[in-house]
Amino acid sequence: MLFSVGGVVSAMLLPIHLLLFGLAFPLGWLDPPSYERLLAIVSHPATRAYLFVLCSLSLFHWGHRFRFTLYDGLQIKHLNELINIFCYGGAVLGTALAAYLLWTIP
């Protein structure tokens, strides 16, 4: 379930995020929001919740998908304990990190 919701969330939201912050703003195609404005947007509880959901669900989508890519792609299913720890553990770690970062915004 997390996998499919994560898939939808990452498909709907990550492209525009990466297009703006990864390309349009650094390359000067569009004017980025000022530091103050961005901080104001991000500090808002709704934005924090939005970012948490975005990051956490996308990570669980990655974890689940990558686990099976490793199993089937590289035929290493015998390493399943390690793979599970890496994939789901990584997603949990990322989620915890996101929670911490979003909680401690001034």
């Binding site: 525009i16 947007i41 970012l51 996101a98």
Partner: protein
């Protein structure tokens, strides 16, 4: 599958090569589609780093923005964006196969299920862009 007994051997499974996915373009396309998940994770990492820089203050955020302009990171983000869009497109195109929507007993054509996803994608992207760009 016939389970092994004392007299019947286990069924034969050929060993699959680690590089099976290189043998056909269709297989490679599949692996590339699944590999797009790695770039999804990268986008999350970039977002988290950005939040971290934002929290540390204007100087740190400016430094992070310079990092985003460095050729290596920029190239990585271009590739990531391609894969993330590839992820979105393949995901929406799969929706009709994953969810059989029926109207009056007949199954809706694929485009009727995939289409609204694309529309939602457009609307949501526009909303996010508007929030960030209206300054």
């Amino acid at each position: 599958m016939i389970s092994p007994t004392e007299y019947l051997p286990k069924s034969y499974h050929a060993r699959v090569s680690t590089y099976w996915w290189l043998k056909r373009w269709a297989y490679l396309k599949f692996i590339l589609r699944e590999a797009s998940a790695v770039f999804v994770a990268w986008a999350v990492i970039v977002t988290l780093l950005q939040i971290h820089a934002l929290t540390r203050g204007p100087a740190d955020y400016a430094q992070f923005q310079n990092l985003l302009r460095s050729p290596v990171v920029l190239a990585l983000n271009v590739v990531s964006l391609f894969f993330i869009i590839f992820h979105a497109v393949t995901w929406f195109n799969l929706a009709p196969k994953a969810m059989a929507v029926r109207l009056r007993g007949k199954r809706l054509p694929s485009v009727a299920v995939a289409g609204p996803n694309y529309l939602a994608w457009l609307v949501i992207s526009a909303a996010v862009a508007w929030i960030l760009l209206r300054g």
